[in-house]
Amino acid sequence: MKPDQGMSLIVKTVTCWINSFIFLFGIYVMLFGHITPGGGFPGGVIIACSFILITLAAGKEFALKLFSLDDASVVDSFSIFLFLFIGFLGLILGNYFLQNFMAAGEPFRLPSAGTIVLNNVAIGLKVGAAIFAMFMYLSLFRLDEGEETE
């Protein structure tokens, strides 16, 4: 972090401290969406928020060095393929598109809902990348036509 960018040293230090926890919390919400309140979308939003916090504290350049818009676009599109891949895997291993082909597992544990965890991860990545990209595009005042979410 260059000293002349972003906000004051206090903000930057606090951001350093709490940001990893925010990120971790986002991953938790994303992974445990099937047994607690949450899921792919809230988890993705929290992850995007941690990046937005970095942007606010340390400036755009630093945030874009960390996770550029091209990266966001790649993650955004790739996660859709992940989702469709899971869907078609259900078609191949089961009978229907998006069929839950994995074993149900025991209740209240992480592997307890078959493919829903994987779907949540795909959606979370997609939403996180898309919201970060939207925030950056709107704040950079240099818009493109790729404002598509979900």
Binding site: I35, P37, L138, L143, E147, E150
Partner: protein, 115 residues
């Protein structure tokens, strides 16, 4: 009763869209209107004394089925919020671009197309 309040909120948003002459205020009207619909969706699943529709460890199934509120509207409202989030981002982007072109947010001056 309480549904009527949603309708009033909806009409407030609609008023904002129809009457206001500023792009940002129109967008706010749009957002209020959509929030009214979301509020209505959540209210559909309201039930006095209801509990969260997530099964906790050690909870009896029959009690859960009896008390839990309908989870479907909550899923629907999440989807609706996501969609409206996308629309709002898009409309803000368009408004910024319009400001870039016309130098104003006043729709009386943004009138290059005939009615």
């Amino acid at each position: 009763m309480i549904y009527g309040l949603c309708l009033i909120l909806f009409l407030v948003g609609f008023y904002g869209i129809v009457v206001k002459r500023n792009l940002i205020k129109i967008i706010m009207g749009l957002i209020i209107m959509e929030y009214a619909v979301h509020l209505f969706i959540v209210l559909v699943s309201y039930q006095r004394g209801g509990i969260v529709p997530i099964l906790q460890e050690g909870q009896s199934i029959s009690e859960f089925v009896q008390l839990a509120v309908d989870p479907l509207p909550q899923v629907l409202v999440l989807t609706a919020i996501i969609i409206n989030f996308g629309i709002t981002a898009l409309v803000v982007a368009i408004a910024i671009r319009l400001y870039e072109k016309y130098g104003t947010f006043d729709i009386n001056e943004i009138r290059r197309l005939r009615g």
